[in-house]
């Protein structure tokens, strides 16, 4: 598989796995409006992942389809960041994961709208306005929960701290990120990190939450080294194709 295909798969896998996680909230949201909100965001993400998988399948050029890529790869062939596979936890925990990811995703896609790869740029321009709605939604919830009751403040602060260790991976460039940057396909991740930190600090301040100390950052997802969680996500996501290979309706 060439570098660009792998890069497109990273983008696609992030969108699919986070979309699948958010879909777990369907029917379990605290109130109807928020249940609908998370499933709407899930739908956007899965729609975006489809466009990316279609492109990755074309890049692979071996007759694979978008469905093959989503449904028939195993854990070590998924390149999503560790953050998006983390379990939902409570409402606040899900929104912290979303806030960390959306803020990154917003600045990433802002860049990708002008990617030198024409197809990535088209997909990014299609997705960007949707992503900005997501980013606004999750940031507002961080403020509401952080600056809410004593209990919501304490619980969301705990999630802010617990998920912090998964934020570094998104913005720490590896060889593939650097190569894509050099080709004008992907961004300079240090630039994204600067913007991400500024926005996250601003929102945490408004939310009266404390930003965690710099500490050890988990990595591995981008090269297929995942925690135990992804296997469970895929077991549910891929169940039908595993149990009844090739089935359709």
């Amino acid at each position: 598989m060439d570098d660009k295909t792998k890069y497109v798969l990273r983008l696609a896998d992030n969108a699919l796995i986070l979309g699948q996680r958010l879909g777990e909230w369907c029917g379990h949201g605290p109130v109807l409006e928020q249940d609908i909100a998370l499933t709407n965001i899930a739908l956007d993400l899965i729609g975006q992942s489809r466009m990316l998988y279609q492109y990755a399948a074309e890049c692979k050029g071996d007759g694979s389809t978008e469905d093959d890529l989503a449904m028939k790869r195993d854990v070590f062939d998924f390149y999503n960041v560790l953050l998006v596979e983390q379990p939902n936890g409570d409402w606040g925990h899900t929104l912290v994961r979303q806030f960390y990811y959306d803020t990154y995703n917003y600045y990433l896609y802002e860049f990708l709208c002008n990617s030198k790869d024409v197809r990535i740029a088209e997909i990014a321009r299609k997705s960007f306005k949707e992503i900005s709605y997501h980013a606004q939604f999750s940031a507002e919830w961080i403020i509401r929960l952080g600056d809410g009751t004593d209990e919501s403040h304490e619980r969301v602060q705990r999630s802010i701290n617990d998920l912090w260790t998964y934020t570094g991976e998104m913005m720490t460039p590896d060889e593939l990120d650097r190569k894509m940057e050099a080709e004008g396909v992907g961004p300079n991740l240090d630039d994204i990190a600067t913007k991400w930190k500024r926005k996250v600090n601003e929102i945490l301040d408004i939310a009266t939450l404390k930003r965690p100390e710099e500490s050890f950052m988990q990595t591995g997802g981008k090269v297929g080294e995942h925690g135990e969680h992804l296997g469970f996500v895929l077991a549910e996501l891929q169940f039908m194709q595993r149990a009844y290979p090739g089935m359709s309706w």
Partner: protein, 159 residues
């Protein structure tokens, strides 16, 4: 010939909002016909994950097949669909149907902390409305409520 095809297409409805045709929505970008009478219809998706898109494609094929045309539907992503492409007629039909049409002139939709737009209640036409949730019953809608007539309503949000 092209006009006949366009007439047929103007009858195809959006499956989620059946008062709107795909023409009102601005989904059809191009229609062409080659020398062997094969029709190509170029469409663009609204929201990325909108499940209506597959149905719309099927409905276009069905409508043209029934009229005796062989048809190929092509999807393009760029330029991305925007609510600004919705026709005046479509906007009026939406409001009559009880869905507030997208606010015009929201050119900068990229703001990370944009204020919710001021939306007119489709029932009593009051401007005294507020946003309940940015996400509604379908990906393209937000949920609003009217403080004057106390009715909740959908707002077709701008992208």
């Amino acid at each position: 010939m092209i006009d006949t095809i366009k007439n047929i297409l103007s009858e195809v409805k959006d499956p989620e909002i059946p008062v709107l045709t795909i023409e009102d929505m601005g989904i059809v970008r191009e229609v062409s016909i080659d020398t062997s009478n094969k029709v190509t219809v170029v469409i663009t998706p609204t929201y990325s994950g909108c499940p209506a898109m597959d149905t719309i494609e099927d409905d276009i094929k069905k409508a043209l097949n029934e009229a005796g045309y062989e048809v190929n539907v092509k999807t393009i992503l760029d330029p991305p669909w925007t609510t600004d492409w919705m026709s005046e007629d479509g906007r009026k039909k939406l409001e009559d149907y009880g869905i507030a049409p997208p606010v015009k002139g929201m050119k900068d939709k990229r703001t990370l902390f944009g204020k919710a737009p001021e939306v007119r209640c489709p029932h009593c036409k009051s401007m005294n409305t507020s946003l309940v949730s940015q996400f509604g019953s379908t990906p393209c809608k937000s949920l609003y409520k009217c403080a004057d007539c106390a009715e909740p309503f959908d707002y077709f949000k701008c992208i």
